[in-house]
Symmetry: C2
Subunit: 398 residues, 2 copies
């Protein structure tokens, strides 16, 4: 809580008016005044500034309500761009994204085995090219990175695959681009994407997105706020044990969720099926099981291959164990799964839900929705860009 | 975010000044002005009002720093009382508590099997007597209740033992006493107590208190804010499965944490030992195992009874499974156990920690402290009163 100075009040009012237009528009100046409790002259003044900056535009007249018809205002989605970066496992992906979460420009650079400084140079290369490709003013850069990310201090604490340790990425990028920079764990930003740009903002105020990729992590939004951990590690459910005496995990423990429900684990199991089950559609890969992709697994699943369905069922049940814990900790929530396991559809969701119902307080579990995210494979990219919005527009619940 | 009116500014400034004195005092008016960025005249004005209300007092002079020695101010701990109520399983307990969390007056009424309206009448009786026993102005009433409590709407959704369903307790109490009323789940308020009145506020900003009583629940503080669930059910870890195919729990599922690590479960196991193990100190209860208390179990534990130590070890390991999930969801945290299992000391904590380390990401688990709460058996009572403070003093992070 800080003292209120005139300058702070001005910035506050500008952000308040813009947010109101962004969320409620098309809206008249009078309606803005009513919604914000600001005076009409203040609103007109602030709106004039926003129009001058190109962030707001007049879009016609409101229906007549007796007197003079009011001019309606709306936010100009393309007036500012956000830079979103997804530092995924095998490639780095970046995009220019407008204020409504529409991707205007996209770039993917393969990692080709780079790590350490070379991987960092690739991040610069990616953002250089994106920044150079537009004349639209940029609001800031958001980065979703794997591993333990200290969002508050802007440091990548640990990214095993990239051999990064304590990389002060925020300050490096801020210096290079002279823009605000925000970073967070990739699974965490996936939840932020769904909250910011997804299909049901009100229901997403308390949200868990379980991001099933090569690894597994959860992003957690509580009351519209992303949970980071203290300072890191919220949602690292991929390394919680779900099978006593299970397989050894890269983390050193045994039976972690990732060892059985990640795409890596599903593909490894599919490889075993390819080798051992001549009746499976996957048997065509028997000579080269390494070439099996998730698409191939999904095809075998859709063809009704029983062995593959069992693998998917087991992955779902293990995700259900995790879901039960999440409900036990967070209470009722909305659990959405992201990643290309969505090809397993309702069959996977049923497995998750059935297991969850048996393993946590029924009255909470029953009201917990289990579904898929409304955003597709760009979810981390969008979430990274969504890190920028609330900070730069002055409201963590934009 | 609301518009700033002069009246709001005045209330804001008064709360800001009082909080500064409460937290930083003894402190001079000049130091308050520096800390709050308010002008000296504003501070003097606000302080005069607080002194008139008896909430602040002058307590001497600061050491000389060359010029005139400044008068120091501090909050008067006994200037206002909070009413704290713990609706425990077998008795209702209430207290008058000052602004520093000191219990000034305490009252316990046995439930004697009452439930429904009779139990509700007992709540009124308890608070009537407390309110009538003092002339100190009361800041408000805080209630910690078992079960699912909708804190936002002030409703006890479900308390199985008390046969309560959808009791609008807040509005009932507000009408009767004309005071602000806040309620929350009893385990949740235990965490709030530790955060508000415990030994290390900074470290407790991200805190989990696992309250091991007849049942088990966790209270979770994230960044100084209590997690309620949406709207209920945060921290209901007692009903998450930790033993596949374990005992049936009252909730209908099997192998819940409560079935093996609650005091109820520990005593039940002690009863079996009393009946079956002639070498145990508990065997003296063989004729009447129902009379075994936690004190008796602790005595047998301290006497080195191997069977009892195994029961405690197993309870600890199951709490460790829960702890691993908590770390997986919340990231690094401070995990403190409340309840009379603290008599099992380091032996219990080691069991919890050992299990946790094997079941969640090591780099997070290693930095997660496992200990006991600094507050004793009054923790729910104190936490209930602590619900009132931040609201009435205008800061959720008081």
């Amino acid at each position: 809580m800080q003292k209120v100075t005139p300058e702070r009040a001005r910035v506050h009012n500008t952000q308040l008016v813009f947010r109101t237009i962004y969320r409620e528009g098309p809206i008249s100046r009078a309606a803005i005044a009513r919604a914000t409790l600001l005076t009409r002259p203040t609103v007109s003044d602030v709106v004039a500034g926003l129009i001058e900056q190109g962030m707001v535009e007049e879009v016609g007249l409101a229906p007549s309500s007796g007197g003079r018809r009011a001019i309606l205002l709306r936010a100009v989605a393309d007036s500012r761009y956000l830079v979103g970066v997804d530092l995924a496992r095998e490639e780095f992906c970046g995009a220019l994204i407008n204020l409504r979460g529409e991707i205007k420009e996209r770039l993917t650079l393969p990692l080709d085995g780079r790590d350490g400084d070379a991987a960092l140079a690739l991040v610069f290369d990616l953002i250089d090219r994106l920044v150079d490709s537009t004349h639209v003013p940029l609001l800031g850069i958001g980065v979703g990175a794997p591993g333990l990310v200290d969002a508050e201090n802007g440091i990548l604490q640990q990214s095993v695959n990239l051999s990064w340790r304590h990389i002060p990425l925020r300050s490096l990028l801020q210096k290079r681009y002279d823009l605000p920079v925000y970073l967070a764990n990739d699974c965490q930003v996936a939840a932020l994407a769904e909250y910011t740009f997804g299909d049901d903002r009100e229901r997403n105020k308390n949200l868990v997105v379980i991001n099933v990729r090569w690894g597994i992590g959860a992003g957690i939004v509580v009351d519209g706020q992303l949970l980071h951990g203290n300072p890191v590690g919220a949602g690292e459910i991929g390394h919680v044990t779900v099978v006593d005496g299970g397989e050894r995990c890269a983390c050193g423990n045994y039976g972690c969720l990732e060892t059985i429900a990640s795409t890596r684990a599903i593909i490894r199991r599919a490889q075993e099926i390819a080798r051992s089950d001549p009746s499976s559609p996957l048997h065509q890969f028997a000579a080269d099981p390494e070439s099996i992709t998730m698409e191939a697994v999904c095809q075998a699943f859709n063809a009704g291959n029983e062995a593959v369905r069992q693998v998917v069922n087991e992955a779902g049940r293990m995700l259900g164990i995790s879901a039960a814990s999440l409900v036990g900790v967070l209470g009722r929530c909305r659990l959405l799964i992201a990643g290309n396991v969505r090809c397993f559809g309702q069959f996977l969701l049923d497995a998750v839900r059935d297991e969850m119902l048996q393993r946590t307080l029924l009255s909470l579990a029953r009201d917990t929705e289990v579904g898929f995210t409304s955003l597709g494979s760009d979810i981390v990219l969008l979430g990274a860009s969504a890190l920028v919005l609330p900070h730069e527009l002055g409201d963590s619940q934009l």
